[in-house]
Amino acid sequence: MPFIPHTEADVREMLATIGAKSIEELFDEIPQNLRVQGLAGIPEGLSEMEIGRLMSERARQDGRPLSFLGAGAYEHHIPSAVWAITTRGEYYSAYTPYQAEASQGTLQLIHEYQTMISSLTGMEVSNASLYDGGSAVAEAALMAVRAHRKSKSLRVLVPSTVNPNYRRVAVSTAGNQGLRFETVPYQRETGCIDFAALAAFAGQDIAAMVIQQPNFFGQLEDVDALTDWAHEQGMLVIAAVNPTSLALLKPPGEWGTKGADICVGEGQPLGVPLSSGGPYFGFMTTRMEYVRSMPGRIVGRTVDLEGRHGYTLTLQAREQHIRRGKATSNICTNQGLLMTAATIYMSLIGPAGLAQVAETSMARTHQLVTALGRQRGVRQAFTGPRFHESVLLLDRPAEAVLRELESQGILGGVDLSGDYPELGSAILVCATETKTDGDIERYANALGTALQAVRAA
């Protein structure tokens, strides 16, 4: 029996101890009419050899195309040690560290993670992870409304330069509690939040504003001015950031005069594979004054009976297993193993390595945009500084061009026509440190060919 170790003798003797004639008898409290007769829709079991063959075939079907996709999930080099250690059974098959004495490894690792991510974002405290970047924005909005001492407003400004899927998750997660998300348009020239449009919200009672840096288009927002403006209006500032970019860009804790209040983001770039969208992890850091409003697990250092240092889950009175209906969130299981991978990644890559990853990604994207821009019918949508993504406008429908590229084994970018129809035919492209001169040249040539093919069709 797969994964069940009982011999016939075991079963016989165990039933005798229980005083039951059969295993069947142990289910005698379940009404007979409810009992299921077999599971006809489930196939026969497979041995490990057979499932291995099946999965390898399925994987082969998907192939490994040359990808220039970003839009919230980024291809980076992952050191071999990251997953070799992360999948050790002692991390992989442990539970949430409620029994602190038997979980010091996980607890100390979380504490080290909290230290690293707090420093990277320039904030004072961190939790132990949320589900992903999208749900982290939603939780940050709920937290801002809860933590705001002077405003009872349920309104949150979420500019259209914030990842559209993050905005969707925020609405579906926080909308039920009455939060209202209001958008701010971007400026067509720069692809950044339109300051003139912000003026319409001046003087109003609004709980918080989300600022994504780099924004969804890859452009860099004027975070100092935006943060100061939001604070002048009495709003809390929620920063949504890419952790890789923070090796080069000003951390949210230093934005404007006072710094952002809550910082969140998608942790995937820190050693987590793309894997069709998950599991990833969301990170959240904040000022010490808001720590009691923060959702999720938090680890603190303390001492044991003998006065020696040890680690434990703390401030649990915020959480659902204690506070039930009055908890800061219903979150329980989060994304611990991905946070584990990220901690090992940050330890291996170090401050210098992370800066090199960020710089190289930026340079490769610059190279890519320049090379693609040389093709007839391609131009950049926006001016101004950017990180490692950029929007390109095509003189032919993006969908058709991307399909042509796909037939050449290239995933050329994310079609923006659904979320930003005003841009016309637009694609979001990304290159990271994993791309070479040869990859970029291959894409540039393929794009020329693809555009030609679409023109001819």
Partner: protein, 501 residues
Amino acid sequence: MNQILEKSIFEYSRDGRGAEAQHPPALRGAVASASKEALGAVPAALRRQSKPMLPEASELDVVRHFTRLSQLNFSIDTNFYPLGSCTMKYNPKACNQYAMLPEFLSRHPLAPDTQGQGFLSCMFELQEMLKEVTGMKAVSLNPMAGAHGEFAGVAMIRAYHRARGDLARNEIIVPEAAHGTNPATATMCGCIVREIPVDAEGDVDIEALKKAVGPNTAGIMLTNPSTLGVFERKIEEVARIVHGAGGLLYYDGANLNAILGKVRPGDMGFDVIHMNLHKTFSTPHGGGGPGAGAVGVSARLEPFLPVPVVGREGEGYRWLTENDRPQSIGRLSAFMGNAGVLLRAYIYMRMLGREGMSRVGEFATLNANYVMARLRAAGFDLAYPNRRASHEFIITMKRQAKELNVTAMDIAKRLLDYGFHAPTTYFPLLVPECLLIEPTETESRETLDGFIDAMVAILGEASSDATKLKAAPYTMPVRRLDDVRAAKQLELTWKPVDSAA
């Protein structure tokens, strides 16, 4: 003897050291000039001035540090882990290996469906298998944990009532023994929580339920078998009462392992369920996630399922989105949830197959009833002595607490010294001094006997040397920790000065 503690990763750090094999190659030629231009375009005001405090350590130091830390943990791979309500069963290695094939890992979430037919076929078949074992009409794989699935479920219940113009229904009924996530979820969905009691035998108090339902009832959230470790025998009557009042039934799948292959939530009358794939379908707990909380629904709730959902068209598969499901409660994650976890659950289900799936509930129940019978014979008090155990059961140390001043916590901590992870303690809240014990089906009789022997030995110590238990554990990396100090003197990040302490 205490193990040697591991110093902080930051204490390995030296300026200028690093795992340089992991750094991208130095920039030369075209990319170097591109770098100058790109960086040059970023105004100084937007740039970072200070170095982030990340370790500067060699690869070997990092590997050694995190390997040593791992050795301070209990885990399923190293210890019996009878944590009630958590289903800590063996996580087969094949599930990890084949979910981590390079093509799966490197697939971008926004890659077109045509570049993911292998992955999508697994997801579609997973949806179908989950429908089959739960008796539900449709499944969405999006939620990333049990509580996330609960959120999706209650949000669908609300959306259903709203779509019918039934706007007053905002109350969620929850038995007092429920997981804390149930009331917390109801609140997150903008609902009001009404708790109802259970009777002396652990079943829902039907009279209290009748009084609680009414025109404001949105639904009831039930775990069955309940958190008390017993099957809710009056489930059909509960369903009649709630449905009769216009409410819907929500099934918390935390304890699905107990009944897998024996009885299905859909057949019990539930309208919406979540499954903890990291419990019943053996994906790893990862020291606090990732989980996966797939939701299943009856026909009337199908339009409200969170998107995306995998659909089959002819021989191919594609994501169905908001465009296909305009009444959907929307997206719960930036992409499609914990894909890699879902692959592991798929592999597990295919390995077990039809017969293996039915055996899960049988042997989980056999193991629980065996441990319960032997502990009862050894003098432990059962919280529900007249009931069968489901896949778990509760003992209460109320008597020992009074007579010997030995608490459930003391037993739990002492078990660690015997090499066993503690059962769930102090949950459910309504049983005083309780230990909730769930052995799971993957444990051998010898392991169960070892655990029982340890429990009996500890009960003996409780009578002969209670003070010894009060100070347990003795053999762990640390002794009992000062939780009050942890919460009062918050030390939430490592500070350089600490190394001197």
